[in-house]
Amino acid sequence: MSDLDDALAQVWEQTSVDTAPLAFNAGVFEQIARRRARLELGVAALIAVAVWAVAMALGPLLMRVMTQMGVLIVSAPVLIAMGMVGAGIGLVALMQVRRRVDRDWWTLGLRG
């Protein structure tokens, strides 16, 4: 065996990896889950902004039409009530997102 073959054999031996892969695999899955969670939260944020923009655009128009039809009388209590309902819906949506992040996306269902 030449010096070159001997040296290369040493290189392959010293740079080869045969350790147990479990920690490596877990690290990969954690990165995948983290990336997916970021993506999903980004999409959720975009949807929320889109819904908010549509509501801002259509809300006043809808309220004016309903007021003219006599269906709705716009007053401070009504506005406060509508705001609370909207905030409640937003909160439930946020909790749903958070629950899914914790249970599914973060671990890809591997926990348990």
């Binding site: 070159l4 040296a7 290189v11 392959w12 740079t15 080869s16 990896v17 490596f24």
Partner: protein
Amino acid sequence: MHSDAEWVGKARQGSTRAFAALMTRHQGVVRSFARRISADPADADDLAQEVFVFAWSHLSTLQDGDRFRSWVLGVTWRKAQTRARSRARRRARDGAWLEGQSRSGEAVGDAALTAVQLFETLSPDQRAALALCHGEGWSHAEAADILGQPLGTVKSNIARAKAKLRARLGDEDE
């Protein structure tokens, strides 16, 4: 025992168990290759993890599941190049080129170099070609396919790498 193609098929459908099996089967080769071609061996495992994260999200682009190993090795090579380029830019920006000087073979006496340090004096192209063909047993054509280089380039890189190492080692049986 399942073939790579079977595991890839299941992983494409979202099976994390299948993908874990693929990783268990190939992570050793990918991590070893990453260590051999990385400018900084310390982050070779980070590179290997990045490769498998990429593989998970791009499995649909792999046409032949049985070529999973060569595919991930190709991804490893491309990502290592990207990292090397960004490291070079960062080094240039920070003016920390002295760090690179200390890693080159010329700065250290050849007699003091270990086999691995001697190997690291080769260019990344030469290291990759040698690691695949000599270290992993791939043919020149397969290595060319993995590295996305012409066959002649791979052959000449291997020949130059061997000549350079022989010269450093003072090996007379060329």
